[in-house]
């Protein structure tokens, strides 16, 4: 019953996120299309984190690292394509989004595997602090390495291209982001229902027992953490293209915190939790930001309220308690 209600809620959310920008574009309100694009991208980043956090119970406080790496992949490849100078002396740059996405997936996946291999040897608060620390390491590296703008960041003069689509116009770019978000959600749903997902969720519920039936949690978690970083990395590449700018702020620990916030606002482990969380966050940012410059103060209070009093997030309120079959 609760399961079916969640399906309905999810379908409504998916339709709404598609319908609003279509309508806004038709009405000539491109600002709202951009807002919806932002929601879709942040949601995709959070869907990635939700694989580690929601399914695996791995509270990564360092996912900004993968988000930022994806962003820098887009920025760096585009800058080399524009300048014509090959990367590292032999790799040509590119403005093609699909290529950029693949490189972003490989780069963020590689870093996620490295960070995961060290931090997953521990657990609990150690894991939280270590993921935070490694993300900070990459942040400082980006800040002090001047080749790609350092502190000032790196501009993407012209949004990267997708064959057959005019990405410079807001609606087509939104549709690209929406499609990737849908693929991300599909991946999450498939993993959740698969053997791998069963092992991952079991390791969250009871690590010792999972090992006792012969499933070693470490490898399962490492793979999950890597996939999680890859999805967040793709979102980062899109985010850089949305803003046509990438800077160390994408790697900052505030970003990591925000990604967790999105998931918890929406509902941990829920398929559409990140989407609802991202929508709420962006709308709050826009609405409160219009009223007061100090909107983060109120965001903090809202967040405190959700954590202390409304566990289960918005999807939990709408669709009832999470149930497994």
């Amino acid at each position: 019953m609760a399961m079916r209600r969640e399906h309905l809620v999810n379908a409504a959310i998916a339709l709404l996120l598609l319908a609003v920008p279509l309508w806004a574009s038709w009405a000539g309100q491109n600002f709202y299309v951009t807002l919806a694009t932002r929601i879709a991208i942040l949601a995709l980043a959070a869907v990635g984190l939700n694989i580690a956090l929601g399914l695996g119970g791995l509270v990564s406080f360092g996912h900004a690292a993968f988000f930022g790496i994806g962003g820098y992949v887009a920025g760096i490849l585009a800058s080399h394509a524009v300048s014509g100078a090959p990367l590292l002396g032999f790799l040509p740059g590119t403005k093609l989004m699909p290529v950029i996405w693949i490189v972003a997936i490989l780069a963020s996946g590689f870093v996620a595997a490295a960070i995961g291999a060290i931090s997953l040897r521990t657990g609990g608060v150690y894991f939280i602090m270590i993921t935070l620390a490694f993300a900070q390491m990459i942040f400082y590296f980006a800040l002090s390495w001047p080749a790609y703008g350092g502190e000032d960041g790196l501009s993407i003069m012209l949004r990267n291209a997708f064959p057959g689509v005019n990405t410079l116009r807001p609606l087509p770019f939104f549709l690209i982001c929406y499609t990737l978000l849908s693929l991300g959600l599909l991946l999450f749903a498939l993993i959740r229902g698969s053997r791998f997902g069963a092992a991952l969720q079991a390791a969250r519920q009871n690590e010792v027992r999972t090992a006792s039936v012969g499933i070693a949690p470490f490898r399962i978690r490492l793979v999950a953490f890597t996939i999680s970083g890859m999805v967040t990395g793709v979102a980062g590449a899109l985010f850089a293209d949305l803003n046509r700018f990438v800077s160390p702020s994408m790697l900052s620990w505030h970003m990591s915190g925000e990604l967790i916030v999105l998931i918890v606002l929406g509902g941990v482990g829920r398929l559409y939790g990140p989407v609802v969380g991202a929508a709420l966050y962006v709308v709050l940012e826009y609405w409160l930001g219009g009223i007061t410059e100090r909107w983060q103060f109120f965001l903090g209070l809202v967040l405190l309220g959700v954590v202390l009093f409304a566990r289960g997030g918005i999807v939990g309120l709408l669709a009832g308690r999470a149930r497994h079959d």
Binding site: L53, V59, F61, I118, S119, R121, T122, G124, V125, Y126, I128, M129, I130, L132, A133, F134, Q136, M137, Y140, F141, L143, S144, W145, P146, W253, G257, I260, V261, V264, V268, R294, Q296, F297, L299, G300, L301, L303, L304, V307, L308, R311
Partner: protein, 306 residues
């Protein structure tokens, strides 16, 4: 001259280490006793700095400011503990991270509201404004030596508090067995508030002292908070001794890395390039140190049992 510079950098590293210890001691104590991961600690550092700067500007006395920083941070800590933190002890780490992250937003924006977005400046008190001659001929600011001295005093004081007093006994009991101290009739709620306020006061003290050598601004506590996390991960969460060793290690490695690495790279490449490469790698050095230590000892150097 090279030796003098080296000694100066060594002292800078020590000073950074001592300051990190003040932060890390509170964090590790709060985790050890209450099992809480507290991101708000950086905000309490900032509260201390702002209180000191505001009171010093108002009264003209750094010393009154210093007292105000201790009082303000301890009070802010106690209030936060009473209103929010005590609802989080039984919760999982995710809830703790989020709630304390939310508190950072509230603290940062609240401070901006009260004091504006421009940094405040805090002068070094006249008594400590001179310099001391080091062996080798260089001059070293007296104030920074004073910070090191305060850090040593706090370390000794904490050690005495924990090993020699009734409060310390309860803190140690709380670390090893939470139910037991409740059963023995200790007022656990008050003990927790006290420990939290004590940690907050130490953070506030660090903020006030550093405020006089850097600018006092919103967000100043966050980089320090993350360094303090690195410190307690290296030292072993819950261990004061680990916090001390970790803090000194991080302080020295970070400072000496930034000093020596560009020079080392200078041996194999031209100076400006060496500065860039050396600087970038130096900025990652303590995290690499952390990775190496964790690879060997996943629970830190002085991990508490269990």
């Amino acid at each position: 001259m090279q030796t003098a510079l080296f000694i100066e950098q060594l002292l800078n590293g020590l000073q950074l280490g001592v300051m990190l210890f003040l932060m890390a001691a509170g964090l590790t104590l709060i985790f050890g006793v209450m099992g809480l991961i507290n991101l708000t600690h950086g905000s309490l550092y900032m509260v201390g700095a702002f209180a000191c700067a505001a009171v010093a500007a108002w009264t003209g006395s750094f010393w009154l400011g210093l007292i105000a920083s201790l009082a303000a941070a301890a009070a802010a800590g106690a209030v936060v503990e009473l209103l929010v933190i005590r609802r989080l002890y039984g919760r999982d780490h995710l809830d703790q991270v989020l709630a304390t992250f939310a508190l950072i937003l509230v603290f940062s924006e609240g401070t901006r509201w009260l004091f504006g977005s421009f940094p405040l400046y805090l002068d070094i008190p006249p008594l400590l404004s001179g310099a001391v001659s080091l062996p080798g001929g260089a001059q070293y600011p007296l104030y920074r030596l004073a910070i090191i001295a305060v850090g040593v005093l706090v370390a000794v004081g904490l050690w005495l508090l924990i090993s020699r007093t009734r409060l310390g006994m309860r803190i140690r009991a709380g670390e090893s067995d939470r139910e037991m101290i409740g059963a023995l009739g200790v007022d656990v709620a008050t003990l927790y508030t006290l420990v939290f306020a004590l940690g907050a006061a130490l953070a506030g003290l660090a903020g006030a002292m550093v405020g006089a050598i850097q600018s006092v601004q919103v967000g100043m506590g966050e980089p320090v908070l993350i360094l303090a996390f690195v410190v307690i991960v290296i030292g072993g969460i819950g261990s004061i001794k680990g916090a001390l060793v970790g803090a000194l290690l991080v302080g020295l490695v970070d400072t000496m890395g930034r000093f020596l690495l560009p020079q080392a790279f200078g041996l194999v490449m031209n100076a400006s390039q060496a500065g860039l490469v050396g600087g970038a790698i130096a900025s990652m050095l303590i995290y690499l140190l952390m990775a190496v230590i964790l690879a060997v000892r996943p629970r830190g150097l002085f991990a508490a049992q269990g």
